[in-house]
Symmetry: C2
Subunit: 509 residues, 2 copies
């Protein structure tokens, strides 16, 4: 047993010919004064397994009960890994306190591809900058996602419907192999539990069967250290009511003893990430001018733009942004302390598009995303920003006349008139969100100013007078990082090369 | 006297030493059964002038009355020009019925520059693609706009305030020379009557003086054929109430016998272009993802995005879009039957920025805007589009359950669910506006599909079966225009080169 790694007990017992999804088996793990009881699962061939994720080193005793019983003890040796990820404020950390900055990618149907394609995907991921993968449990039926998977999650009933009480062991064993391989590369799995793109009947089994599926799934997978729960891809398009979604959310939270990150992804109706069991916002939003909306709405939790469109050349507008635009979207997000997720959709002779099936990467963005990740991981904390110069001014709308007068009294006359014009506008939200500056900061220690596609000749910054700063100019596309000044305080003008994709980074010395 | 050209009567009379802004002089012009009476103005040195813009050829008699009197007759010869512009539906036409598509630029303080700089500006304009210029009557005080003008619109009172009753003749004579020179090049003048960027006191003279100024101005300028009224640049930032603005609007409309185009430009509070005296929307909107907002709000009138940010390299985000982005914004607009206005803001050693003062153009966009203009002018009508795939679906929100069911009943199940998800979203407007397609059409005669920065490999189009079409592929940046197919009906896939800035144009044969 090792801290932060899945510990598995496998105990032989009676062969089950039916109803094995919810086998009667559990184990109590005791460490010092604390006992955690976790359910086990039937793994086929008369084998019962219980998986546990020990969070502390030291001595554990365990006791299995139910259809099989056993007991024992283990010395849990200290971790050689960082452990599972959880949220902290608007960011994430590993269990050992190391910051984790998600730089994800999307391979929806990774698990439903032939073994050699999965191998190729893993090989690609081993060299890619991504430390999170969005992937589905169920197979996907959509453009470029038409292949029949080798296995299904369940056996079928005689009437042709899925018998969730009889999970398909071959499927789950193979599926888990992917999770292990990703974990070995330090990649978090943002596991999509439900999605609407279905021709097999997995979407629409009914709520009771959904819960049996989740019961078996959580028994098998909750103890994986690199697991995140994504309740759905585009939850609104599946056959479930919001009440069923909330029930699913509660069920998953109740059946996860470790508190893995939990989110739910939208098509148009952004899931309320302020719900207690939801740990962070996982948003589809292809228009980053709207970023301020999500930052302010979910100001207490991490925000990931998990779908911002994909680098590629296919016809749909969600699948044809340039590599430059993809990289910009990463920098737009990270400059505000928000995260972004990659995906790739280039036409391919073999019909293998990364976003669907994996394979190899063709785009120009991944190496630049690696550069972005390196910079962000080098910073001493979590950036914050509002994406909009004017968004804070919208608060003036909620003030009474006296409060407003007080708030405006110190401002120059023209700025005062400008803010009054803004709040008088029926389009105030739209204009406030549109006046964008991709400027973030970490207290007064770090200032990051991403200039996106603006080819400016200089950047006049104003730093606190009580610290000195090193100023670096980053070319986020050409991946250069140059110190242009040290010992800077107060006002300073940074010359820039009139190119797109530049950023200025000021770090307290 | 020539149709569509300013006819001027100059009649000597008493020298006025004071209060000459509202001289008592007018002329009645009679053509057939129609008599139009227009006010004249005092031009200094005892000279009284009356200007008239004849819209029909034939015989006119005229009769001057007031401080001076005279009468006579003229044969108005047929036009050699197209005449003044007016709106027609969502577009514009010249008086002779020729379509006019505005491709404007911005030179706010053109009239307040030294003569040699104005000459250089006119030389530049003579070779540029622009057929409209946004320019101010009053001088401008702003970044890059600091030079003292050679003249002011009025003489000063002894107390140092402006005496609007005594216009400065040298100013107005010089100012009009610019309008003549622009007219000779076929350039419309979108004349900005008021603006907030002032250090001289022209903004804040008070409403009564504003009206005296407008009275004199309309007497002198209303008969220019190439004149448009822009009540303001950023009306909300000046020292005027909305009631005063509405009064100004009425005054200008009442004092313009020719019905020149009339608009008012915003900072954040978009002027209601649906007002009867406002002929079109003149909008500042730097975020073209919001274009659908303005198209739908002002669906019965032309829309011009008169400020979409400027091509340049200066620090403010409104002055640092790339040439490519500027050209894209033109195509985004024109694809929807909307128009866009250029401006340029590059740092310059001589502190002459085009947007402020004129001079020469440095940017990459003008020649591409010329290409865009050539294409748009070649089309047989006014394009229309909504900029958003999903915007029409928002109407579902206003339907009752039965109507909605009827509207959705024929749709594929997934599309139906998608639209229901949209209208259930508190962010429906934002998402609908964000799902953008720059696709426009002229009935079933023309289909224009601008792909902006999406480097797609192909475009599958679906054309009516009852016509045949010629398909052209445009590279809007490299300015190529290639026929790729003729005789096409129904579904057709156009191969594209995976580059940005491509457009597909299908024209009925």
């Amino acid at each position: 047993m090792r801290q932060y790694e899945t510990f598995e007990l496998a105990i032989p017992g009676p062969v089950l010919s039916d109803h094995w999804a919810q086998a009667d088996v559990q184990a109590a793990f005791t460490h010092g004064d604390t006992t955690v009881t976790v359910p086990g699962f039937y793994a086929g061939d008369g084998m019962y397994k219980i998986r546990f994720l020990p969070m502390e080193p030291g001595e554990y005793t365990w006791q299995v009960s139910g259809t099989v019983s056993a007991e024992g003890q283990e010395i849990c040796v200290p971790a050689t890994t960082h452990g599972p990820v959880h949220t902290q404020g608007r960011g994430f950390v590993y269990a050992d306190g190391t910051p984790y900055h998600p730089f994800g990618t999307t391979i929806y149907a990774l698990a439903h591809q032939p073994a050699e394609l999965i191998d190729r995907t893993m090989e690609t991921l081993s060299k890619a900058p991504f430390n999170k993968v969005r992937m589905c449990v169920y197979p996907k039926d959509y453009d470029f996602n038409k292949n029949e998977p080798p296995y299904y999650a369940f056996e079928k009933s005689e009437d042709g419907t899925w018998d969730t009480s009889r999970p398909c062991f071959a499927f789950w064993d193979a599926f888990e192999e992917n999770l292990h391989r990703l974990d070995a590369m330090g990649i978090q799995v943002d596991l999509i539990l439900f999605h609407p793109y279905d021709r097999w009947g997995f979407d629409g089994m009914g709520h009771d069967k959904d819960l049996v599926y989740l019961d078996y799934l959580t028994r098998r997978l909750a103890a994986f250290p690199n697991l995140w729960w994504s309740l759905a891809n585009e939850h609104e398009l599946t056959h479930r009511t919001m009440e069923e979604w909330y029930d699913i959310e509660q069920f998953v939270a109740d059946h996860d003893p470790y508190g893995h990150p939990l989110s739910c992804h939208n098509i148009f109706n952004v899931w309320d990430a302020n719900r207690p069991n939801t740990t962070h916002a996982s948003i589809q939003s292809k228009d980053l001018t709207q970023l301020n909306r999500w930052i302010t709405r979910f100001s207490g939790k991490p925000v990931i733009i998990d779908e911002c469109a994909y680098e590629g050349n296919i016809e749909p507008f969600w699948g044809s942004i340039t590599g430059q635009e993809m990289v910009r979207r990463f920098w737009m997000c990270v400059s505000q302390g928000v995260y972004c997720t990659h995906g790739e959709t280039f036409y391919s002779d073999d019909d293998v598009l990364w976003w669907a099936k994996g394979g190899v990467l063709h785009g120009e963005s991944p190496e630049r995303i690696a550069f972005c990740r390196k910079i962000i991981e080098s910073l001493p904390g979590q950036l914050e920003g509002t994406a909009s110069f004017l968004q804070p001014a919208l608060k003036l709308r909620d003030m009474d006349a006296a409060q407003r007068e007080a708030a405006l009294s110190q401002l120059p006359e023209m700025l005062r008139r400008l803010l009054l014009a803004l709040i008088a506008s029926p389009d105030a939200e739209s204009f406030a969100n549109s006046e964008i500056g991709w400027y973030g900061h970490i207290g007064t220690d770090v200032y990051l100013r991403f200039h996106s596609d603006r080819p400016i000749a200089r950047d006049s910054i104003e730093l606190p007078e009580d610290k000195t700063y090193t100023i670096r100019v980053l070319d986020t596309w050409n991946m250069t990082d140059e110190v242009v000044a040290t010992g800077v305080s107060g006002k300073y003008t940074v010359p820039l090369p009139c190119r797109e994709n530049m950023a200025v980074l000021a770090i307290a010395e």
